[in-house]
Symmetry: C2
């Protein structure tokens, strides 16, 4: 359970770009080993076809489900989670169809913790059944009305049934962070003893903070011996921060969906999680995942559910690798690691240094001048930069505009010299 | 420095909706006081007009800057940060103009740590000058080439100058998380002694995790007596998680921008931060901010920089309060707190329970049947729900479609009864 062999890499924010940080040994937190951490051996449970189907705009056809499942399996996720076969006749058929594809990823389905649902799940031929029940007082009062004792009795019965069929089984509470801690630990301890493969912790309402997450998972890590899966909604913007904190505290699995689609504003997005993990566990992440597929997967799912890729999406957002301010642009041209923690080429994406604004610095302009094949002195480049900034103060510039300014400046020079 | 009077509220994820959690006293982490925390008294430095201007698409006119500054001041932010007046002649004029507006929010400008820039800043009439210099080995090598000793000497000279003019002064390192920890603490201790108002910690490349943040800020909190400002880029999706962790560790100020716009994919978004803080510090946040203005502010800035509000934006994303799965919808109708950590009405937004999918449960359909004025038994509602799910298995449904199914079912019933 203690993933220490990747401990050093997992703590260091550098290492993705070629030149190593000469200060590495003394930079904060670098080299601090953490014996609880599973950062260097995390597993992804990809839930676009379950949590993602709960997204308001989602209506996946069978063909779309097959394509998404296949792409995600090829991308390298460990598990695919599907909508409960009890939800509708088509959900049942689709679950069976995807189980028969023979994908590299294991196929799970997510059902309520009762015998009827579990039987239907096993019938479909899944590799694993994800059982879920609400344990918070809110859910016990307003959703299913069951006591903790009843929950435990049913859970063990269902777990034993699924195991008897040779199928993996996970038991998850819902709204774990608003559940009574002692009740929760008692329940998890009992299902662990009953031989469950994983317990699941879910921040169903998206209210947890990274420290709450770290503390709960660390406590749970001391109580159960099985794997720990985590599921974070993003209502308060912490779904990625909570996921990395959970892995640091000893969680083994993180649930994601493509672009984070799910109930309300969704869960930990697969892409943002990859951005986080390629920094926190670079070697493992680069080896295990076909990172260059990410953009296509996101674009395909976005088209299925008719949304745009958010402009501020990590990695694939339109401007994720665009550098604009003068001081940034100067340094990025000298060494990309100065202002990039992620090498965009890992994801098949290019960086772009903007020289069209009033924040432009002359170093960025110099780089463009060289690209255009002109030979200007630094003083001349500073002069043309002043012209660009002056124009950018008046109206938005396109790259064509700045090129025109550079061309014009160069032409004037040649005329002055009589060339 | 120790914000404990809001400690209980700041630790509890519940409290935003009317019925209190009956389990509150024993729910995890509720009631744990934290003497370092400033969660209950955090301050916002709103940097849409500085960091936001570094966003690839940003070209703010003077009129737009005035409108954005005024809206943000009315919203309730403590500080507005503006682009350096050294950047361009128009930046200089706009800085002076905004200083003269007499806004409630204090006006800052963000300049390189040298005497020339500081003088220009003071000249504009700002309330405070935010000094910045890169301290990581990357930036020292590839950006400005200065040694730590030189940085410290210059910093103290500039700080003393700004203070002598009766203007607030902050000193921030850039790329703090990749700087040598001992160098960083030495520098901050020296500038604290020189009487700086705030020191700033910046995750310039967006690589920090919440635990790295918590540890660095907690350490720094023991070294300096002044306020601590924090700035988080979102390259790895942790900008909000890091901000809350920083406040928990004793930071006093968080930088935000509207929709997070900034270099690359930007920084901690104002809206997501409000979502986080209305949960972590409900009373303080609801009292201090005009939360109902958030949507208008986001829409205005989005129109200025020509982006769409991301579909998965906390609070204002199109589906942030849409509930779809059957088990969710049933409980949310009984008590919104079951699946909502944030009350949408605080932000002037309505919730929506979807009944148009194959995941629809009969409780949600019942609610719609009642809204439409029909009187059906539970068995009849289950029957009409089956019809909706059957149809939704075939094609995407609009709310009109489900209403038609309900109308048709009711009409059939009346015909059968001969009404």
């Amino acid at each position: 359970m203690c993933g220490t062999e990747n401990g050093v890499a997992s703590q260091a924010p550098n290492g993705t770009h070629p030149p190593p940080n000469p200060n590495a040994a003394t930079a904060p937190y670098h080299g601090v080993e953490d014996h609880l951490s599973n950062v260097g051996r995390y597993k992804i449970i990809e839930s676009t076809l379950r949590e993602g189907e709960q997204f308001a705009n989602a209506f996946f056809t069978t063909e779309q489900k097959i394509k998404i499942a296949t792409m995600l399996s090829d991308f390298g996720v460990d598990y695919l989670e599907l909508t409960s076969p009890v939800s509708s006749p088509q959900s049942y058929e689709d679950c069976k169809t995807i189980c028969k594809l023979g994908l590299k990823a294991k196929v799970l389905t997510h059902v309520r913790c009762n015998m009827e649902d579990a039987k239907k799940a096993v019938e479909c031929g899944v590799d694993g059944v994800d059982l879920v029940i609400g344990t918070s007082s809110f859910l016990r009062q307003y959703s299913h009305g069951k006591s903790m004792a009843m929950i435990q009795t049913t859970a063990i019965e269902v777990i034993e049934y699924v195991k008897s069929k040779g199928v993996e089984v996970r038991f998850s509470s819902e709204d774990s962070f608003r559940s009574d801690l002692v009740d929760l630990l008692t329940l998890y301890k009992a299902v662990d003893k009953a031989g469950v493969n994983r317990v699941g912790v879910a921040d169903t309402v998206g209210g947890a903070t990274p420290r709450m997450t770290y503390d709960l998972i660390r406590t749970l890590r001391g109580v159960v011996g099985c794997d720990i899966e985590t599921h974070f909604h993003d209502d308060t913007g912490c779904a990625v921060g909570n996921a990395i904190s959970a892995l640091e505290a000893g969680a083994t699995h993180v649930d994601t969906s493509v672009l984070g689609i799910g109930e309300r504003n969704g869960i930990t997005p697969l892409g943002a999680m990859m951005a986080r993990m390629v920094v926190s566990a670079p070697e493992y992440t680069k080896t295990k995942y076909n990172l260059k597929m990410l953009k296509d997967i996101e674009e395909y799912v976005a088209s299925c559910v008719q949304v745009n890729i958010p402009f501020n999406n990590p990695i694939t957002g339109a401007t994720a690798f665009t550098h604009k301010a003068g001081i940034h642009a100067k340094a990025i041209l000298a060494n990309p690691s100065t202002y990039e923690i992620i090498d965009p080429s890992l994801f098949g994406i290019n960086r772009y240094v903007s020289i069209t604004s009033r924040l432009t610095g002359w170093n960025a302009v110099k780089s463009r001048v060289v690209q255009l094949g002109y030979e200007l002195t630094d003083d001349q480049i500073k002069e043309v930069t002043a012209k660009i900034k002056q124009m950018a103060d008046i109206r938005p510039l396109a790259i064509d505009d700045t090129d025109s300014i550079i061309h014009a400046y160069n032409m004037n020079l040649r005329e002055e010299k009589g060339i």
